[in-house]
Symmetry: C2
Subunit: 695 residues, 2 copies
């Protein structure tokens, strides 16, 4: 089960994100998350005898959809139907649910357009064009500029490119840094913010087997949801969408995954991996386990509390499982030793060439030094957070947005540039419900953690607690705030710095006090860390090109990528995992656990048993190279048809963050046949099936 955890990472993990790198050494079979400007044509031809045309690639690209801030999807009808995962749709399902209608637990189906349910804050993106703007970005850096100025100049140039593109095309315009800054590309997206929910099964069918089965295989999940994109109040007419395969995927068949992998760290230096192992993961896991405890205790209070916390609990459990897997992998015997040997070999080759030595050799030590510099501030960077589940973040964003809008675009904090504002406002002003009880519980615990770790004398802690206990402070904040009302947020932003300065809402008051400290940490990270690690990363990227050549793909950046591979099982636990599972397996697993949580069958699934063809393929695996963010990606055959829906990687794929090994690393998907069988026979969604099949 994969979902990108972007925007949840505390500051300490920025180092990793800021230094995504290229691959070292030769590629493994079926390795790679390829950009659409540089698809793996050679590999496809040599290994699979397949040569995709430019039109084929364009069709796949324009049928692919980025869903929200962490998922993928695809158009599957000319009238804007978008297929993605239930767990990608979970946030919206949570937000449209009420104490009376729990769509997470019960599922949803709109038999007609009139029944479709508007989503409060879901943005879909379709990649319309890609333009290499490397020269323009690099031109901003003048000879002799110091690293801090050089970084600022590049950022300003990027903001200007984005602003001009937006103005000219009205399309969402993002400059993306690939190959650690080796290339910069302007990606333009068509944006849909008018989105409705069409179909979702019960979470228990989508996430069958719960946390234990999450990230494992064999699997039995109907992890699907269907939205519809609208434009001007009508279903969007899309000219590129994927048709449905009649037979699904066969064993050993070549398939493609088109989606948005969030981040990989395949060329982290040894120092960075050690830092992740010794600091990053333990801190992250400590924090997540604590949050999970709070969320579970809240959910235990009653059914309505359980409903409110459901989406969050899923997210945290998911995060803990993947982070534990990655952490265990880094600690496993031989992994870092392998990395050390690889790095030593790379550096030896560089040292053997005087020109390379002069240009690149310093990069590793630069990064190691930056890490050492960061260590003394680790606790601050990790634990100084805005309290609450959503309210604290909203308050800080309101305060910062009002201030940043006063500045020229190029001087603003990242996240507040002109080209980013529309999406930012869309999220910030979302009418999605906020649960005060949950906010208070989360705020109290994060304040407690902060107090324990940083002490009562830390100025940030002082500002947060204001002389109260964590519980009192959380209670006062949540009881006194009106920020759950999006109208207030809008009023404050529209009123500008003056309105913000006068506001007496306790969360805004707190955010005003925290803002200077947050800005100081951010600036310190940029000036002291990022200004060093970014150019060092660039050097390593260039060295990679110089030493090993340029047949490569960049680390994942939550932008569109094409992966490819074969549908096939793998050696597992002493035997073989099959390439697919069937509905038989679902009923087996339920019966094997005496229908106990989390292996119980939803009532509708139990009732449908005799209607189903139990031999229908349910889930399958392929070797395609993915990571969190790919959830919801279509799996496509050579004819461009949907044969499946990516929803997870297996446990053997955890180390895929650091390297790809096709022995057992597998992408787990829902079979196209299972989706049709379930919609028809379990959920009575025959009309929807007809639209998907074009009948």
């Amino acid at each position: 089960m994969q979902k990108i955890k972007a925007r949840r990472l505390p500051g300490i993990f920025l180092l990793a994100a800021a230094t995504v790198m290229l691959l070292a050494g030769p590629l493994a079979a079926d390795e790679g998350m390829w950009t659409l400007d540089n698809p793996p044509l050679k590999q496809l031809k040599e290994k699979y005898g397949f040569e995709p045309s430019a039109a084929w690639l364009e069709h796949i690209r324009l049928s692919s959809v980025r869903v929200g801030d962490g998922g993928s999807g695809s158009f599957i009808s000319p009238s804007g139907l978008v297929l993605t995962n239930h767990h990608v749709a979970l946030g919206q399902l949570q937000k449209v649910s009420t104490p009376q209608k729990n769509y997470v637990a019960d599922g949803f189906y709109a038999p007609s357009l009139a029944d479709e349910l508007p989503c409060p804050d879901l943005e879909l993106n379709v990649l319309i064009s890609m333009e290499n703007v490397t020269a323009k970005v690099l031109a901003a850096v003048k000879k002799g500029m110091d690293p801090v100025k050089a970084l600022a100049a590049k950022k300003a140039a990027i903001a200007e490119i984005e602003r001009l593109s937006l103005k000219k095309t009205k399309l969402r315009s993002d400059v993306v840094s690939l190959y650690q800054g080796g290339e910069y590309w302007l990606y333009r997206y068509k944006k849909y913010t008018e989105v409705k929910l069409v179909f979702a099964p019960e979470q228990q069918a989508a996430f069958y087997g719960g946390d234990p089965d999450n990230f494992t295989y064999p699997r039995h999940d109907i992890d699907m949801a269907i939205f519809r994109a609208y434009e001007n109040g009508k279903p969007a007419k899309v000219s590129h969408y994927l048709t449905w395969s009649a037979n699904g995927a066969a064993e050993n068949e070549l398939v493609f995954v088109s989606g948005h992998p969030g981040s990989t760290n395949r060329l982290m230096t040894l120092a960075q991996l050690q830092f992740s192992r010794d600091y990053g993961y333990p801190l992250r896991l400590q924090s997540m386990k604590r949050m999970l405890g709070v969320a579970r205790a809240y959910a235990a209070k009653g059914p309505e509390e359980a409903r409110q916390a459901a989406g969050m609990i899923f997210g945290i459990e998911n995060g803990i499982k993947v982070s534990s897997g990655e952490y265990d992998g880094l600690k496993a015997a031989g992994i870092l030793e392998k990395k050390a040997a690889q790095e030593a070999e790379f550096r030896k080759l560089i040292a053997a060439n005087p020109q390379w030595q002069a240009q690149y050799a310093s990069a590793w030590d630069d990064i190691a030094q930056a890490i050492e510099k960061q260590k003394p501030r680790m606790k601050e960077l990790s634990y100084r957070r805005v309290p609450g589940m959503r309210l604290g973040g909203i308050a800080l964003q309101v305060v910062q947005l009002a201030a940043e809008l006063q500045k020229p675009d190029g001087e603003r904090l990242d996240g507040y540039h002109t080209a980013e504002l529309e999406s930012l406002r869309f999220r910030l002003f979302s009418p999605a419900p906020i649960y005060p009880g949950l906010e208070e519980a989360m705020a109290a615990d994060s304040l407690k953690l902060m107090l324990e770790e940083l002490g009562a004398d830390d100025p940030y802690v002082k500002a947060c607690l204001d002389g109260k206990t964590p519980e009192e402070a959380a209670k006062a904040l949540v009881a006194g705030t009106q920020l759950a009302d999006p109208a207030l947020r809008r009023k404050l932003v529209d009123g500008g710095p003056a309105a913000v300065a006068q506001c007496r809402d306790p969360f805004i008051v707190l955010a005003r006090k925290l803002d200077p400290m947050v800005r100081e940490m951010r600036k310190w990270q940029e000036d002291e860390i990022e200004s060093v690690t970014r150019p060092a990363g660039e050097k390593i990227g260039q060295a990679r090109f110089a030493v090993y050549g340029k047949n490569a793909y960049p680390d994942a950046t939550f932008t569109l990528r094409l992966s490819y591979g074969a549908v096939k099982g793998y050696p597992m636990n002493g035997t073989l995992a099959p390439y697919k599972t069937t509905f038989y397996g679902l009923y087996d697993r339920a019966a094997s656990f005496d229908n106990k949580y989390p292996f119980h069958l939803p009532q509708r699934v139990a009732d449908a048993r005799d209607q189903l063809d139990l031999s229908t393929p349910l889930n399958f695996v392929c070797t395609g190279d993915i990571i969190g963010g790919n959830s919801g990606s279509p799996v496509i055959n050579a004819a461009g048809e949907v044969v499946g829906l990516v929803f997870d990687g297996n446990v053997e794929s955890f180390m895929g963050r650091f390297f790809y090994d096709d022995t057992a690393n597998r992408t787990v998907s829902v079979c196209s046949q299972a989706m049709i069988e379930a919609m028809n026979k379990i959920y009575g969604a025959g009309n929807l099936v007809k639209e998907i099949l074009g009948k």
Copy 2:
């Protein structure tokens, strides 16, 4: 999938067998293979609140059956029905099959007594009594005897005890060495050699999933077979037999396994473990892999050849899987380090007590020195084998038996004592078919291996080849021999040394030449190795009692043991393995692999789908402590009823040879309900079900 590999071990592995040892340190939950004179009453009462009565224990003992030379079973009807595994019955199924009737592939069912099929050479044993004869055995060793004489004296005493017991009781009488010679017990068995086959499914249903699924779980095997014991031409009337549970085993239920674990090595010294890792396992695996290649090549020649080699291929694949698992475990990080720390702690405690130091401390070094002494002769001990699959062994046994019968009982080679003769003759004169083609192929390859490893100048190799190539020698041996006829073997043995000396059968001629060299190696191992390692093992056993107390069970010795534990799943591959599987899972696995080998459904199983209740429990796991030899053991509930049939351990149990860890070590069994459902609805064996259920 477990089957003891007794009698297949080449000489090199004797060291391990000769030094089976006690456990070190405190017991894990549910650990132990307990002798029936010392059942784990304390643990059962404390953990499960169960107090078995003496009558309960006696009933279980007298219902338990040792099957042949490597399996277990139980009486399940008053008319002598014996339940065991298909893979325990496989040898007999192979032997009763013909080119026209392949009972291995097709299964067998006798709807009436008249249809039951006589087995050529299956012996069943029921443990009638146990008597502690330690004092009698030890009395044979006089003060000041040198180790070689002491060993011989003990062996002579044992032979005499067995001989007298047999004479007096007519029961099979075996003296068993427990706790490395800390105790000697006289076990008396009622013996059945008139045994008929009643029921067996197709091998594909019994061994569903083949070699890949072997030793794994979740599992879907109907690994059962049913024999009937006869006496004087009539079904044996047995007063102790197990009744069938109506509902099978529930999750977390206390269950018992009563069977005959073959051997464990839980208190091998560090030196022995290292020796096993560095010499024992690599040599064994090399040899087995080679044999497998030969057997597969032979089977590929045609359907009749495939039929002949089927049982053998199963046995070798099984052996390779378990040995590879144990070998990988010994090589895994931390295992030997853990052992080293345990041993160092033990020796430290001994050293701290001057009396213990004087009595026991030398044992570890004695063993290490014996190992060093053995190393230079390793190649001879490993590769000097009698050629052929069965013919070479038969010839050597004929030659040795004729000679040994001339000596007083106490001076004979082990295996030829008076008390052992009846069982020996039963096997040696078996009319089971011998396949000349397979014999020749196996002989040629073992001669080739011998030549490669020992060289043409080795006198043993010279004797075997007699100037020919391995292929020529094998051809001449097999073409010229009449030993496939049991009448010739009997005639030779009855004719005594003179008949053997005059015989011109090429296998007998060869065995006469090899016999002195085999005897020399055997004597060398006794005098130089065993005479040292046995008393050293005894010392370690005594030290164990002195330091840690006597709440212990002895290492496994293919004698009756009682294990206990709970029915429960375990953490597996990132998720949970359920405590049971169902028939749904069988159909799922077949469909998941597109019904391809070895996951295809037998036609009868496929056809019965709609008749079966697919939610019927099929296989289940429990924590009971078992090892190869336990195959066919009944799983019994507290009421003494059959709830299952042990047929395997999971991959996590491989290290059970060396230590028990209840985290994931599990015994895998067929559910009682599955056997009834299958016999009734797949195999039309309703009459048999009625007899079992007592209806």
